[in-house]
Amino acid sequence: MSTSRKRSFGEWWFRKGRFGASHVLLVCVAVTTLLPFSWMVLASFKSLDEVQGLSPIPSEWHPENYTDVVNSKDISFKKYYFNSVFIAGWVTLLACFTSSLAAFAFARLEWPGRDHVFKLYLATMMIPGVVVMIPNYTLMVALGLLDSYIGLIVPAAFTAFGTFLLRQFMLTIPRSLDEAATIDGASAWRIYWDVILPLARPGLIVLAIFTFMGNYGSFFWPLVLIKSEHLRTLPIGMLYFDSMYGRQTNLIMAASVMCIVPLIILFIVMQRHLVKGIQLGAVKG
């Protein structure tokens, strides 16, 4: 008798109860995830006294918090946005271009020492960034590139990760295409430019997204390199904004919202590629 009751509970669970429980759990987790974000958005519309109070929803809405941040004399938010996008853009372009060239050399061309050099690339990927940043900084000091766009862009553009990722991609492209092109008399550059590059597009998109995202939010390198206010990137600008105006939580939250919104938009647009990319990158690694 008892077993049949247990089984029917189990069956109910299997058929219906489980979904209900799952829904509840999903909603709970979703709420936990969203709570800080929603607090941030709501706080950005409150007045200073209200931010420090108990009520979640502002009694009056203050969209001028946003204009106050953008028009602030000490913090040129627009410049910081521009700098972040500018620097991330250049780094992404350089990284994608040079990495794809190098990946082609590793994946398709035969030359002595190729595999040893590639192992060197792999080995450096495990070294913590901070080991490398210290000498890079002293190099920038010696070259007088401290506090310059070039100093921010060039060292960040050459990581082994891009070459590694794209090489993995290129290895999956069937060689028959290469051979067909060679028979048609194509040089190595033609093969690269016309055959491989278009086919490596998924990999390039993933690399581009990750590189752009990583450099948009890059913190350590701009922190140590930048001295002048007009060169600051968004993370550094936010840091100084918080240290100067930290008391005014509502303004800080407005600034944070403005920082995060582009990321959210980018994410929603690029979602498919990203998810695939992470899974691919890990599986092949």
Partner: protein, 319 residues
């Protein structure tokens, strides 16, 4: 027919831009910092440059700050297993065929994707001991329960911690039990990472498990929990292996952004991890030689830990 020489030149042309940058900005610096670690260089010319051999290493091992900060680094990694378990749990939750599951997946990934200085500043405001919503809620609840002897934790300005670690010397100290800055950072870290890349990896891993295994298990009379233990978990072993290794590597190097943005190294140095220590030594005091030595010690630790994980994990995965 192309000669070997042409092949090499062609390869060089393709390789050169990236390889040159790689040498100048990665390989060169690695060699350079290894050399610098054996010198007393301080970038400010206030002290004559000298080769000091193992002097930096001896100094860092005998200074108790290094050990304190190592403990901080390891302490902050305590949230790692919780985060990984949470990712697995969320992946299982998301693996079901329910309506709108993709929306949930997007949502859960949001904290990880938007992670950065803006989120750290948000959490700093959330943890404010007087006005932050976290303490406001705690105090309200304590008020309902009429509990007046307990105060809400002061989070980022408190040196207390769950392990009762002391502040100045390595060891346990009574009275230090509580929730403090390090715990606040751990909790924030779990929130950020639970729905992140690891969850996606587990999702991919789960979707690769053949259904037949589950069917066979249920025919054998296994319930849901037993199925998890005997089918899901072992099948996910390679994914878990990868995640654990990457988490260790990341965890040992981490804690810098949190420390710099939220606590500046924490009340009395309690949120200073090794990477923050290296930062202050290298970029605030410009003790390049000493900082390089600490950085290399960190690298060695990461290397050894990864090797150990690899050896130990491979055995486990292959069983």
């Amino acid at each position: 027919m192309r000669s070997k020489r042409t092949a090499v030149i062609t390869a060089l042309c393709f390789l050169l831009p990236n390889f040159l940058g790689f040498c100048v900005f990665t390989v060169g610096p690695v060699v350079f910092s290894l050399t610098a670690a054996f010198s007393n260089w301080n970038l400010m010319k206030t002290v004559p440059l000298q080769f000091v051999g193992l002097g930096n290493f001896v100094k860092l091992f005998t200074e108790h700050e290094f050990w304190l900060y190592s403990i901080n680094t390891v302490y902050l990694m305590m949230g790692m297993p919780i985060a990984i378990a949470a990712s697995l749990f969320l992946a299982i939750l998301l693996g079901q065929k329910l309506r709108g599951i993709v929306v949930y997946r997007t949502l859960f990934y949001l904290p990880s994707f938007t992670a950065g200085v803006a989120l750290l500043i948000l959490w700093k405001a959330l943890y404010n001991p007087d006005f932050g919503p976290i303490n406001v809620i705690i105090e309200t609840v304590l008020g309902w329960l009429h509990v007046s002897s307990v105060d809400a934790p002061t989070w980022l300005s408190s040196t207390k911690n769950v392990l009762s670690l002391g502040v100045e010397k390595v060891g346990l100290v009574a009275g230090q039990f509580g929730l403090g800055a390090r715990d606040a950072i751990i909790m924030m870290g779990i929130w950020t990472a639970a729905g992140g890349g690891n969850m996606l990896l587990y999702l991919a891993g789960i979707s690769n498990i053949p259904q037949e295994l589950y069917e066979a298990a249920s025919i054998d009379g296994a319930g849901k929990w037993a199925q998890f233990r005997h089918v899901t978990w072992p099948q996910l072993a390679p994914t878990t292996f990868f995640i654990v290794i990457m988490s260790f590597i990341g965890g040992l190097q981490g804690g810098f952004e949190q420390a710099r943005v939220m606590t500046m190294g924490g009340p009395a140095g309690t949120t200073t991890t090794l990477s923050y220590y290296i930062y202050t030594k290298a970029f605030e005091e410009f003790q390049i030689g000493y900082a390089s030595a600490v950085a290399w010690v960190l690298f060695t630790v990461i290397f050894v830990v990864t090797l150990v994980n690899w050896r130990f994990g491979s055995q486990y995965v292959n069983e």
